[in-house]
């Protein structure tokens, strides 16, 4: 049991979402759902974050930004793609400027479907990601991974 499960800090980024899912993500922080009960804090700084909560289907403008934020996060880290746009591009999938889902750019660990995804689903998704986080943590500490290879980079 690590402390990661008890203190997951998220960074939330809107990658050309319609803001529907973003509003739901922020609703989780309100007194109604209050995810701070679980120790979840929305820090705006990827260097302090464990969970990357992304919404929206990526376009040309924020493709590099999403990569950059992902690289700025220290290990272990997980990515939670919120909303159907983040999962597969949603209704905008065929548009010329849309990449069609976060996993085209960075590895995603949890998909939370919905348009807009409900706060309960989002919280459920984040809680699922916590166990993945723990797995990554144990792998990080295992002797095999303890060589000087940088982890979490993007090809």
């Amino acid at each position: 049991m690590t402390y990661l499960k008890r203190s997951p800090w998220i960074i939330h980024y809107d990658a050309s979402s319609c803001n529907g899912c973003d509003i739901e993500v922020l609703a989780c922080l309100t007194p109604m759902y209050d995810v701070e009960r679980f120790g979840i804090v929305n820090t705006g700084n990827p260097k302090h974050a464990d969970i990357f909560v992304v919404t929206g289907s990526i376009n040309e403008q924020n493709r590099e930004v999403v990569k950059n934020i992902y690289e700025q996060m220290p290990d272990p880290k997980v990515v939670v793609a919120v909303g159907i746009c983040a999962a597969s591009g949603g209704v905008f999938r065929e548009c010329y400027n849309v990449s069609g889902g976060i996993d085209k750019i960075i590895p995603v660990d949890v998909y939370v479907p919905g348009c807009a995804a409900r706060p309960e689903s989002i919280i459920d998704g984040i809680v699922k990601s916590l166990s993945i986080l723990e797995e990554k943590r144990t792998k990080m500490n295992s002797p095999a991974a303890k060589k000087d290879t940088p982890s979490g980079g993007i090809q």
């Binding site: 980024y13 924020n62 590099e64 950059n68 690289e71 700025q72 220290p74 303890k146």
Partner: protein, 634 residues
């Protein structure tokens, strides 16, 4: 006695030698040997006299007075000639007044004077001699390498290095003379020589700006000189036998008699130490080559100004005049520090910091309790070392990167790591615990509380001290920032510069470690002999500070410890991907570069506004002091 004579005369002889030889290599050798000998003589002096307390020396040289008279007239004539040539009529008027006063003194009032002990030495003179003899000579050696580069960078400036080093060594001789003289006439003579040295050295490059600034310095110092002459006249009228002309005799004659000349001489000290309202000459003097700024305008000549005020502190203690002089110093400290926030020119920052710290020393001396004099002497020691180190570092950096702007020193720890570290030591020495200046300020706060009206000074120290934290820290920040735009420079530092910088940096740290020793062997006996009681830092505190210093010194070694690799990433730019040298794709598809520049808080701490306030305040206080003085005389 022989050491004193050696220290006063030897540099003068060397000076004339240096004036004659224009050959650079000969000069190098002569300066280094001379500096070594002077430094050695200073150390011998320290060892010989450090436990002997006050010692008076009689110098039976009637011709000495006549030689001084002739030299003074020659200098006056020289200044008159230059003043008329450059059309600086204020200087002409001032030097005329002063010369007339001097002729009056020598020719008429001082005719029957029999002075026995012209020279003296006590612990305070030893401290000042150490500063001049050790730091001063180090700066001379540094100047050799500096001036070579200076002329290489500025081919349009005529190479008058023989005059330069002549003046520097004359200055060293004059400083020794000033420190060792008991006879006020002799002090006055050497005082005026230092004014001349400052004048010539500021105007070294002969550009119109430096000539103007040289005359500004001259005028303000001449003003002080007139006050000094006035003090001597007063003393000779009060006692025509001249028995009061000795500092020791004057101090022991009691406050009633000594106060008026003390105030007048303090006024001379205020102009020499560039306190407000006379601070503009020091700021203007920064156009001179950096060794001049380091030697004259931070560690030695301006220290002569505060030295003489600290000498008279027992006289000023507890009087209204002393309080006013203290306030002049205090407000200079506050406003000088504040102005330094808004300056980005490194030498100007150092100049204002010097002015501020000199103001603090004068504040301690003006209020003049025994604890404060102890604090003042501590301040003198620490400031001399740290400031000269900083000036020399800035000079070195300026020659390497071609700029004296702090903003251009970004990433200095990458470009010139060794010099950057020494600069950090210097800056830390100016404001961080457990280094010297902070200890002195701490002692000063504790000492001011017990003085009458001390609360004003405590407030000034509290606010002024915090202000210094700001501008020193942001300078430090600029130096240690690992700026991706810059790379390591080739190490072209000449050995003279390098050795001197190392020694000074080492001294800064060493003095912080051994200052309890200096305090108990030199400062406390001096204060004890003058006041009958002395202050000291408690044993516990000394141990704690030593521990902190030790901790500070070993912390950097933690970086050598093996660690499970920290991964390096670029800074967070709000998600905007940046190249390794911090260029990022901004709006409109334009690649932009990142520039980070410090806060200068010009609206609050702008130079023009605060300088006006400081000048007005200083002027007002001095006016008040003069009125009280006149009231006392009448």
């Amino acid at each position: 006695m022989i050491e004193l004579a050696f220290l006063i005369l030897f540099p003068a002889i060397v000076a004339f030698l240096l004036l004659a030889f224009k050959n650079g290599q000969v000069r190098n050798v002569v300066v280094k040997i001379a500096a070594g000998l002077i430094g050695l003589a200073t150390i011998i002096l320290l060892i010989t006299y450090f436990s002997s307390g006050l010692v008076l020396f009689s110098v039976h040289l009637e011709t000495a007075a006549e030689i001084m008279f002739v030299i003074s007239l020659l200098i006056a004539g020289f200044i008159l000639y230059l003043g008329i040539k450059q059309r600086k009529y204020l200087a002409v008027i001032l030097v005329t007044i002063q010369t007339l006063m001097f002729i009056g003194i020598e020719g008429w009032l001082a005719k029957d004077v029999q002075q026995v002990s012209n020279l003296f030495i006590d612990q305070f003179s030893l401290i000042m001699a150490a500063i001049v003899g050790i730091i001063g000579t180090l700066i001379c050696v540094y100047a050799l390498a500096y001036m070579e580069t200076y002329h290489a960078h500025h081919p349009e400036i005529p190479d008058r290095q023989n005059v330069f080093f002549f003046m520097v060594f004359v200055f060293l001789a004059a400083m020794f003379g000033l420190i060792f003289s008991n006879n006020l006439l002799w002090v006055y003579f050497f005082w005026e020589i230092t004014t001349l040295a400052s004048f010539i050295l500021i105007g070294y490059s002969k550009t119109s700006e430096s000539t103007n600034n040289a005359f500004l310095a001259l005028e303000m110092n001449l003003l002080g000189g007139i006050a000094f002459a006035g003090a001597i006249i007063y003393l000779l009228i009060a006692d025509p036998t001249g028995s009061l002309l000795g500092i020791e005799q004057l101090l022991s004659s009691g406050q009633a008699l000594a106060l008026v000349p003390a105030v007048l001489i303090s006024f001379a000290g205020i102009t020499k130490a560039a306190l407000m309202p006379f601070s503009s000459w020091l700021v203007g003097a920064m156009v001179a080559p950096t060794p001049v700024s380091a030697l004259l305008h931070s560690s030695t000549m301006v220290k002569a100004g505060v030295y003489i005020i600290v000498r008279f502190a027992p006289v000023l203690s507890g009087t209204t005049e002393g309080l006013i002089i203290g306030l002049v110093g205090g407000f200079t400290f506050l406003l000088g520090s504040a102005i330094a926030i808004s300056q980005s020119n490194a030498k100007k920052v150092l100049a204002y910091s010097t002015i501020a710290n000199l103001g603090l020393i004068v504040a301690c001396a003006g209020v003049g309790t025994y604890k404060l004099v102890w604090a003042a002497i501590l301040l003198i020691i620490f400031h001399a070392i740290a400031k000269s180190l900083l000036f020399l570092c800035v000079g070195t950096v300026e020659h390497q990167i071609g700029s004296r702007n702090i903003e251009d020193m970004s990433g200095l720890i990458v470009r010139m790591p060794k010099v950057a570290v020494m600069m950090l030591v210097g800056i830390a020495g100016m404001f961080l615990a457990p280094f010297g200046m902070l200890i002195s300020k701490w002692v000063a706060i504790e000492a001011f509380i017990e003085a009458q009206f001390g609360l004003i000074f405590v407030a000034i120290l509290a606010f002024g001290g915090s202000i210094t934290v700001f501008f020193w820290s942001k300078w430090m920040g600029k130096i240690i920032s690992v700026d991706p735009h810059v790379t390591r420079e080739a190490d072209t530092l000449k050995s003279e510069k390098r050795v001197v910088l190392y020694i000074l940096a080492g001294l800064t740290v060493l003095i912080c470690l051994i200052f309890p020793l200096i305090s108990s062997s030199l400062i406390e006996p001096f204060v004890l002999s003058v006041y009958g009681q002395t202050a000291r830092l408690s044993q516990d505190n000394i141990i704690i500070m030593a521990m902190m210093l030790f901790l500070l010194m070993i912390m950097p070694f933690s970086m050598l410890l093996p660690r499970n690799g920290a991964r390096k990433v670029p800074p967070y730019m709000g998600g905007r991907p940046a190249s390794s040298d911090m260029k990022f794709l901004g709006s409109m598809g334009v690649t932009r570069d990142v520039t980070l520049s410090n806060y200068y808080l010009n609206d609050l701490f702008g130079e023009s506004r605060l300088l006006m306030a400081g000048t007005a305040l200083g002027f007002g206080l001095i006016l008040l002091a003069m009125i009280v003085l006149v009231g006392m005389i009448l």
